[in-house]
């Protein structure tokens, strides 16, 4: 039962860019602030611990993909644990991606309103985003990841540029002390649950058929490492620039950072420059999670194509994103549920599926050669 979805070609560089961007875009929202609330001055250690643990999750995703070559985690799951449990796993992945998509869309639209277009109705902004997302998802994964590959330099460059421009404000390295923040035990516990921050690494399991096993492993590891590095770096800079009681209250930390740039009379008020880059980054992330949702659903429903699902899913996302009453609610749901329990669908399910596959001796090197037709 092997069929091919029209995902097109995937280069290693493009896949790396796609996954890295999809993960790090979280830091455009309130995540640095939420981490500062929980971890205090040790917020960055939480990211490091979470990142390290995410590698364990990634190991199982990669192992699963290697055991079932040419298949995504969805089909691999069905083969390993049977159609019923497999569908439940697929549903969990689907919900994870949808939740990520909806919450990000709502929060990012709110960012735009608060920061730039206070008079514009949110539906107009959200609809504007959705049109682009639906269109780019419709064209397919290749288009999204090529865009990502093309723009990742700009995106990382924009973060680097802000960092350089903010050097005059980095006088207070003491803001990283006391070293253990809210306490080693709390930091460790949060580190474990906040692996959910890296849940989007699950996309590796979806693009598995498009890359060779070795390439896939390399893409997964490098993009996760890059994401951890960038996010830790941003958190450290954030904590240094905004001393603790302040870092725990900013709704849009990165934006507040960009607004702070002040190098003499001339180089100031330059936050508008970064907004373009951030919107493009957000669109890539949104399109990637939209694709992931549609692809998981299509494969779970055994549809040969995912395109017919894109438009209905778009409407669904649009509608659900407005059921959240307010921006603070969206932030709370994101932080308290998605980025606290997201590791269950993103890491635990693939790991369980893999372990069951090993126990039931499903998949493996012998059988896949016969099955794969690529």
């Amino acid at each position: 039962m092997s069929y091919r979805l029209p995902e097109g070609h995937q280069g290693r560089r493009e896949a790396f860019a796609l996954i890295t961007i999809t993960i790090i875009t979280e830091i455009f929202l309130s995540i640095p602030q939420k981490l500062a609330v929980d971890g205090k001055s040790a917020a960055w250690i939480i990211i490091l611990i979470a990142g390290a643990l995410s590698f364990v999750g990634l190991y199982f995703i990669l192992a699963l993909s290697r055991r079932f070559p040419g298949k995504t985690i969805v089909e691999a799951g069905e083969e390993a644990v049977g159609p019923f449990l497999g569908t439940i796993a697929a549903l969990a992945y689907f919900i994870f991606f949808m939740a990520s998509l909806i919450l990000f869309l709502r929060q990012f639209s709110e960012t735009i309103i608060t920061a730039f277009l206070p008079q514009t109705p949110i539906s107009v902004i959200t609809a504007g985003f959705l049109v682009v997302i639906i269109y780019s998802t419709y064209i397919g994964l290749e288009a999204i990841s090529r865009t990502a590959g093309l723009l990742i330099g700009f995106i990382i460059g924009s973060l680097a540029l802000i960092t350089v421009l903010l050097i005059p404000f980095m006088v207070a390295s003491y803001n990283l002390f006391p070293f253990w923040g809210s306490g080693p035990d709390i930091v460790a516990r949060l580190g474990a649950t906040r692996t959910s921050l890296f849940g989007e690494i699950l996309i590796v399991g979806l693009i598995a058929p498009l890359l060779s096993g070795k390439e896939l492993g390399r893409v997964g590891i490098t993009s996760l490492a890059a994401a951890i590095g960038i996010m830790t770096f941003v958190e450290v800079i954030y904590l240094i620039i905004f001393p603790l009681p302040a870092s725990a209250v900013f709704t849009f930390p990165l934006y507040s950072g960009a607004r702070l740039v002040f190098i003499g009379r001339f180089v100031q008020r330059i936050d508008a420059i970064f907004v373009f880059v951030w919107i493009i980054t957000a669109l890539i992330k949104l399109a990637a999670t939209m694709y992931a949702s549609a692809a998981v659903l299509a494969r779970a429903l055994k549809l040969p194509v995912f395109r017919p699902l894109v438009f209905p899913l778009g409407i669904l996302v649009f509608a659900i994103s407005f059921t959240i009453p307010s921006f603070p609610d969206a932030v709370t749901i994101d932080s308290r549920y998605l980025r606290t329990y997201g590791w269950i669908p993103a890491f635990l399910f693939p790991a369980l599926v893999y372990l069951v596959a090993v126990l039931r001796k499903k998949g493996g090197r012998g059988s896949d050669l016969a099955q794969s037709n690529s």
Partner: protein, 445 residues
């Protein structure tokens, strides 16, 4: 042409039309419809209300630049008339909060009041002494930036804003931005943007200081029309007797004649968001050195070779300040190391300091003087203000604690007044100017 092509081209046309009709969407705002506030002033008003003063730019006049100097220069006052007069106007209202005050202003100003270009917030002394954190909440406004300069004025903010009529710049806000940056380099005022103020005021390890400014008491009348001679005589009378204290003034009291009516010198010391006192120019400079923010400034030391004369040194901070804290039976012991370097600028009374032991002698004299000044300001902060304006807690004590809770429970800010502070300074002469020794006119030939 197929239908497909027709629909496609219609769609393209529609999209093109959209680009024209939806520019800026709901947030389209023409600059001509906005009144840009460049300075905000906060004062107390009866019944816990706020007296909000705004200085609004008149863009057309600002853009003109030339000011009223042009044709009618002949008659009028004694002094030159400031170029800024007529480029802005000042308006004050009383309201329970800043946003409502802005609405109130709009009942009079024919354009939408906008804070996007606000450069400066001035806090009146009365407001500052009464803990203005209630009005500080205005920073959640997206229009207010943390890079806005924050100034505390002795007296009323409204009077200060009204009196500020700079000469060189047409734009009063630009003037203040330039002045604060230039003055900061001399160490006579602290760096005080909203960001630094809030960072310190919210910290468990330091207290905030802001720029101190005031309208001069030197008898300057508005628009610079005043008796220059009389002013100079007054200034001479007020000149300090001890030449060692370089700038023992706080804003408003500098003996001078002529110029803008406002002046910036010294610092306002806060505990939390409550004003507790002032530092004069020299003390502010010493505090800056202890905070590691000192850039460049002059200091007088007695000439070690000739009694009754002074050597003038241009100082700068050579290395970041090192703050080592030990907590001994609950009482902090603070060891501060300030490393300075400098150039000899003038040697009154003569002497060649380019070689040892004279050079070493001079360096010792400077170190002694620096330690004296630093100890004086530390004592003042500990006994008079009981405020850690140097950030010793953040710089030194924080890293002694393991967790955030332990750190905040220690309550550094209330421990600081009892702390034993030891300041060590070291100074090296780096350059001696264009001559090894000062000119020596020969007398009694």
């Amino acid at each position: 042409m197929t239908w497909r092509k027709v629909t496609a081209s219609l769609l393209v046309l529609l999209l093109l039309a959209l680009t024209v009709t939806t520019t800026g969407c709901w947030d389209r705002r023409e600059p001509e419809d906005l009144a840009f506030v460049i300075t905000l002033g906060l004062d107390t008003a009866p019944n816990k209300q706020v007296l909000l003063t705004v200085q609004i730019a008149l863009p057309k006049r600002l853009a003109g630049g030339a000011g009223p100097g042009g044709g009618g220069g002949g008659g009028g006052g004694v002094g030159p008339s400031p170029v800024s007069s007529g480029t802005t106007f000042v308006l004050s209202v009383v309201a329970p909060s800043i946003p409502t005050a802005l609405n109130l202003i709009n009942t009079n100003v024919g354009r939408m009041v906008n804070l996007d270009h606000n450069r400066l917030i001035v806090i009146g002394e009365d407001m500052a002494r009464k803990n203005f954190s209630r009005f500080l909440a205005v920073v959640v406004f997206p229009e207010i930036r943390r890079t806005t300069f924050l100034i505390t004025t002795r007296g009323r903010a409204a009077d200060f804003i009204e009196a500020n009529t700079p000469f060189i710049e047409a734009n009063p806000a630009k003037y203040i931005e330039e002045l604060t940056t230039a003055n900061f380099f001399s160490g006579l005022i602290p760096l005080s943007q909203l960001h630094q103020f809030l960072s310190a005021a919210e910290s468990y390890g330091q207290e905030a200081i802001t720029i101190l400014a005031d309208v001069t008491k030197a008898g300057l009348k508005p628009k610079g029309q005043t008796d220059f001679k009389k002013q100079i005589e007054e200034a001479m009378k007020k000149a300090p007797t001890i030449a060692l204290e370089t700038i023992p003034f706080i804003a408003g009291e500098i003996p001078r004649a002529g110029g803008n009516r406002v002046e910036f010198v010294g610092a306002a010391v806060y505990k939390g968001a409550r004003l507790v006192g002032f530092l004069n120019g020299s003390e502010t400079r010493a505090a800056a050195a202890l905070r590691g923010e000192f850039r460049r400034g002059f200091i007088l030391v007695p000439n070690p070779l000739r009694k009754g004369f002074f050597v003038i040194i241009e100082l700068s901070q050579a290395r970041p300040v090192s703050v080592k804290v030990r907590i001994n039976k609950g009482i902090p012991e603070i060891n501060v190391r300030v490393t300075m370097e400098g150039n000899i600028d003038a040697i009154q009374g003569g002497g060649n300091f380019s070689v040892n032991p004279a050079k070493r002698q001079l360096e010792r004299a400077v170190e002694k003087r620096l330690t004296q000044i630093a100890n004086a300001v530390v004592t003042k902060a500990q006994s008079q203000f009981q405020a850690d304006i140097f950030g010793f807690g953040d710089r030194g004590a924080r890293r002694l604690f393991r967790t955030w809770d332990e750190w905040t429970r220690y309550k550094w800010l209330s421990q600081f007044p009892q702390a034993r502070v030891k300041v060590q300074t070291s100074f090296r002469v780096r350059r001696i100017g264009l001559q090894f020794a000062p000119p020596k006119p020969v007398t009694g030939r």
